[in-house]
Symmetry: C2
Subunit: 139 residues, 2 copies
DNA sequence: ACACTCTATAACTAGGGAGTTGTATTGATT
DNA sequence: AATCAATACAACTCCCTAGTTATAGAGTGT
């Protein structure tokens, strides 16, 4: 299922067929697809919720179910997707299965997005305030 | 359509109802939803391709269509989604409409993901090499 | 006015994925 | 061995969305 060798080749070709002044503007479709798929894994609030719940240490599935309020089968599917994406790792201990964050850089990603969103909202509210002010001046 | 005021309230409540040792583990559902929606915008390779094409400066729609090979209506829809997410900005010049990256931090996001994926692949190939080596020793 | 180009939008189809329900599997307990 | 609890998986439904086709609108030159 995973096209690892192809990816490596594609990644090598990224440097090769560069016509623009910037290499990143001529990314191979396969590499873009990989990045997009990674973002897709993080693009569901349920999965994001699970990831956040694992922020301060490993948790087993039952704990995740209880913390998130999601259905058992649903959580199981999401954890599989997160594990396949390399975002979490799986470790069985007896009858329980513990999941934990594989690479904490996902929190860097989330923080970057949060900052950007906060900035956007701040700008919007500033514009709103300016509009309100203008509305008063013409009254 | 945009739930800006609610978001602000939710964001304020994030700090409030914190029971864990880490605030981020008790994120409000609304905030998570916003972050997830942002990731969703970047989770389509066509949109990611458009973003990458805009890396070295603004481009009008026709140029984007030509560079990406996507259909005209399709590109128009994607650009609308990107603009609504605040990833690109729109500027009309006569009959042409130029789009450009609103906040270059999206490239930081992509780079972080790329690095992580490259690291994963590297580990996988290392494991593959170890397996091949082992296979030879038992032959 | 007319024709032409560029961009946006509406309507439609097909495919994918989230959530649910039911079931299977695996480890622990008695 | 039997039972119970924890987790995974299969099958199903419903909704969302990417892409396409056709059309509309807006700016430009003749």
């Amino acid at each position: 299922m995973v096209t690892t060798p192809q990816v490596m080749n594609q990644h090598a070709s990224v440097v090769g067929d560069c016509e623009d002044d910037c290499m990143l503007s001529k990314l191979s479709p396969a590499a873009l697809q990989l990045v997009a798929e990674f973002f897709k894994v993080l693009s569901e609030s349920s999965r994001l919720q699970i990831v956040c719940r694992l922020r301060n240490g490993p948790k087993n599935v039952s704990e995740i179910i209880e913390l998130t309020g999601l259905g058992q089968a649903n959580v199981s599917k999401h954890l599989k997707i997160l594990a396949q994406a390399g975002i979490v790792t799986r470790e069985q201990q007896g009858v329980c299965v513990f999941y934990q964050i594989a690479n904490p850089f996902v929190f860097d990603l989330c923080e970057l997005v949060c900052n950007s969103l906060a900035q956007q909202i701040q700008q919007q509210t500033a514009q709103q305030a300016a509009l309100d002010e203008f509305r008063q001046t013409i009254r």
